[in-house]
Subunit: 346 residues, 2 copies
DNA sequence: AGCGTGTTGGAAAGCGCTTTCCACATCACT
DNA sequence: AGTGATGTGGAAAGCGCTTTCCAACACGCT
C-alpha cells in the first residue's frame, strides 16, 4: 500500500551523477556544483517528484527543523494568542511548530520537553507560569539543562526562574499601577480573586496590587483574597466565596481575564451589576475582551507580540547567557470599573 | 558545546549485550528477552540517561509519531477549540502534534501538507473550509494523494470535498433550522452577513438559511446579503454596508460567531441596539460566546468534540474508504434575538 | 616543464536505530 | 539417540541522507 518513496539515490542515478552531487544541489550546501549538473539534478528531482526525507536529514545533520511550543491549554485565549505569535515567527523562519499541551500538569511539561529532546528539536518555547512546587521545577530544570546541553534553545514566557531566556510581563508593576488607578477612582475597599496560591504569576499580581493599594494608603486584608483555579470556571466558582465573605468591597481585582469573565457571569447570576454594584478589573487583555459588555478594565499585555519575542529569543544566533525581555503592561480602564456608588459586596 | 548524546550502542556495550538485544528491550519489540538481560539493559539505560533518537527511529521504522494539524489561525476560538480536541486525542495516543497555520492562504495549506509528508507524519487533520477555487483544491488533492499513498492518514473538518475522512457539521440544516425559528419569532425581513462568496461553509450556511426562510414562506433578496471576510474584522466592516443597504431587516444572520461579534460591536457603534433595534444570530457557538452581552443566539457545534472525532478518524486502524461523520447543529436562542419591535435597518 | 592553488565530482564512512537472518540451546516427543 | 519445534542472542544489512576525504583537472606562476 505505502508506495515506495523517491530517494536521493534514485534522483542521482537518473541524473547520472553521484549521491554527493545530488545532495549538494538539492540542499543549501556551501559547495558549488556546475550549472550543467545542477540543472540536470533539479530537473530529474522535479520530474520524479523527489521529496527529501526529513527524518534522514535530521539524523545525518544531527538537528531538526522542529520548534516546540508548550502551553497549558490551547483553547485558552491567553495561550492561543501567544501561540499565534510563536507560530508566525517560527513558520516565517521555515521551521515547524510542535504543539504540546500540559493541562496544567507539571509532570506533563517535563514529559513534553523530553519528547522534544528526543526529536532533537531546535528550540522550545514554554508558556505558562511556574509554580512554587520545588520538585517539579527541579525536574523541569534538569530536563531543560539536558536539552540545552544537546544544543537546543529554550525560552519561557513568564517568570525568569529557569535560567533561560525569558519574556517577562510586568505582573507586579502592572497590577500596582492598576491598583493606584482604581484607588484614584474613589474605591476604598477591595477584594481580589487571586487564583491558586502556588502560581507565581498570580502571586506577583496580587503582591503588585497590594503594593499599589499601599501606595494609596489602603490595605488589602488577607480575608479579602479568594483563591481558586486559574480558569474561567475558577473565576466563576470563586464568586460564591467572595459574596459569602461579605467584604464590603466595591471593587474586585481578578488576576487574569479568563477568570474575570467567569466572575462577571457569576456576579450577574448573583444579581450584582457591574460596575454599579461592584467594579471588576482583570489582567492580560485577551482579544475576546473587546466584545464583552460591560467592557472589562484590565492591564494590557501584548500577548501575540510576547509570543513573537519568545520565538525570536530562541531563534536568533546570539550566544549570550540568559536574557530577559521585559514587557510593560498598560492599564486600560473600561466600562467594568467606575467610581463606587453602592454599598459594595455585603 | 553540544554534548554527545548517549546512544543505544553505548548502552549495549555497557550492559554487555548486543545492539539488537538492547533495541529489543528498550522498545516494544515482539521478540522476548530473558529477564536477566532485560534488567541489565534497562538499568544501564537509566543510569546513562539514554533517550532514543526519534529521527533515527523514524528513519529505521519508516514512520514517525507526528500528527499534523492544519488550521487557518490558531488565535481564532473556532480553530483553537478544534485544536484542543485534536491534541487531546493525539497526545493520549502518545503522538506528537505538529501545528501549521495557513493564514487562509490555500498555497500555504499545500505547503504544510508537503512538509508533513517530508516528515513522514502519520496523519494530518485539516481544519478549515474548502473554497470554490479549483486550482488550489486540485493542488491540495494531489498533495493529499501523495500523503496517503505514502501510508499517511488524512481527515478534514469541513466539507467532504477531498475524498478523505471528514467531519462535516450540519451547516445547511443548522442554518435552516435557525431561519425557521427566527421566522417563528415574527421576523419577516432578514439580512445576512454572508462571508466570502467562494467559501463553502459560508455558502452552505447562507443556502441553508435561505431554505429555512423559504419554508416559512419568506424570501431573502440577494441585495440583503452582504459579503465580507470570515473574521471578526470582516463582520465589523460589513455592518457599514449593511446599514447603507437600508434593507429594513429586523434580523441579521451572520455566518459565523467571530464575524457576529465584530458585527455586534459595529452595530453598537452605529447606535443600534441588539435585540431592540435588530436581532442578531451567529453560527458555531464558540466558547467565548457565553460571556457576551447580550448573549448571542447561534447554532451550536460541538467544536472540541469535532476535533476529537477528526483525530479519532485518523488514528484508528479502520481501513475502510472515505468516511463521513456528520455532526448536528443545535439552535440556541439567546438574548440577541427577540421578536421584532422596531422598524429594523432603515 | 614544474609547482602550488582553487575548483568540482565521486566514493564511502558515518548518523542511531530496526530487523532480518543465522546460530545455538533447550525441550518435548518418538 | 534422533528429530523437529521453540526460545533467545548476536552479526550485519539496511533506512535516506550529509559530509569528509581524495582524485582529477584547470589555472596562473616562476
Amino acid at each position: 500500500m505505502a508506495s515506495r518513496q523517491v530517494t536521493l539515490a534514485e534522483v542521482a542515478k537518473h541524473a547520472g551523477v553521484s549521491l554527493a552531487t545530488a545532495s549538494r544541489v538539492l540542499n543549501g550546501s556551501t559547495r558549488q556544483v556546475s550549472e550543467e549538473l545542477r540543472e540536470r539534478v533539479v530537473g530529474t528531482a522535479r520530474e520524479l517528484g523527489y521529496l527529501p526525507n526529513a527524518s534522514a536529514q535530521a539524523l545525518a545533520r544531527n538537528s531538526s527543523v522542529l520548534v516546540g511550543l508548550v502551553v497549558h491549554d490551547i483553547a485558552d485565549p491567553y495561550f492561543s494568542s501567544i501561540a499565534a505569535g510563536v507560530t508566525r515567527i517560527a513558520e516565517d523562519a521555515g521551521l515547524v511548530v510542535v504543539l504540546g499541551t500540559t493541562g496544567r500538569d507539571p509532570r506533563r511539561e517535563v514529559e513534553l520537553v523530553n519528547t522534544l529532546r528526543a526529536h532533537r528539536a531546535r528550540a522550545v518555547v514554554i508558556a505558562g507560569s511556574r509554580t512554587t512546587d520545588r520538585y517539579s521545577s527541579q525536574r523541569l530544570a534538569e530536563e531543560i539543562t539536558a536539552f540545552t546541553a544537546q544544543g537546543g534553545r529554550v525560552a519561557c514566557v513568564s517568570q525568569a526562574k529557569l535560567g533561560v531566556d525569558t519574556v517577562v510581563p510586568a505582573n507586579r508593576s502592572g497590577a500596582r499601577a492598576l491598583a493606584r488607578q482604581l484607588a484614584a477612582l474613589g474605591h476604598r475597599k477591595f477584594a481580589v480573586l487571586g487564583g491558586p496560591p502556588d502560581l507565581l504569576v498570580a502571586r506577583d499580581r496580587v503582591a503588585g496590587f497590594k503594593a499599589g493599594l499601599a501606595d494609596a494608603g489602603l490595605d488589602l486584608p488577607e480575608a479579602n483574597i479568594v483563591r481558586s483555579g486559574f480558569t474561567r470556571d475558577g473565576g466563576y466558582a470563586a464568586v460564591s466565596d467572595l459574596v459569602a465573605a461579605k467584604t464590603g468591597a466595591t471593587c474586585v481585582f481578578v488576576v487574569n481575564d479568563v477568570m474575570a469573565m467567569g466572575a462577571m457571569a457569576a456576579l450577574r447570576e448573583h444579581g450584582l451589576r457591574v460596575p454599579e454594584d461592584v467594579s471588576v478589573a482583570g489582567f492580560d487583555d485577551i482579544p475576546t475582551l473587546r466584545d464583552l459588555v460591560p467592557a472589562l478594565s484590565t492591564v494590557r499585555l501584548p500577548l501575540e507580540d510576547m509570543g513573537e519575542r519568545a520565538a525570536g529569543l530562541v531563534l536568533d544566533d546570539v550566544v549570550a547567557g540568559p536574557r530577559t525581555v521585559r514587557v510593560a503592561g498598560e492599564v486600560v480602564l473600561r466600562a467594568s470599573t467606575s467610581s463606587p456608588s453602592g454599598t459594595g459586596l455585603r
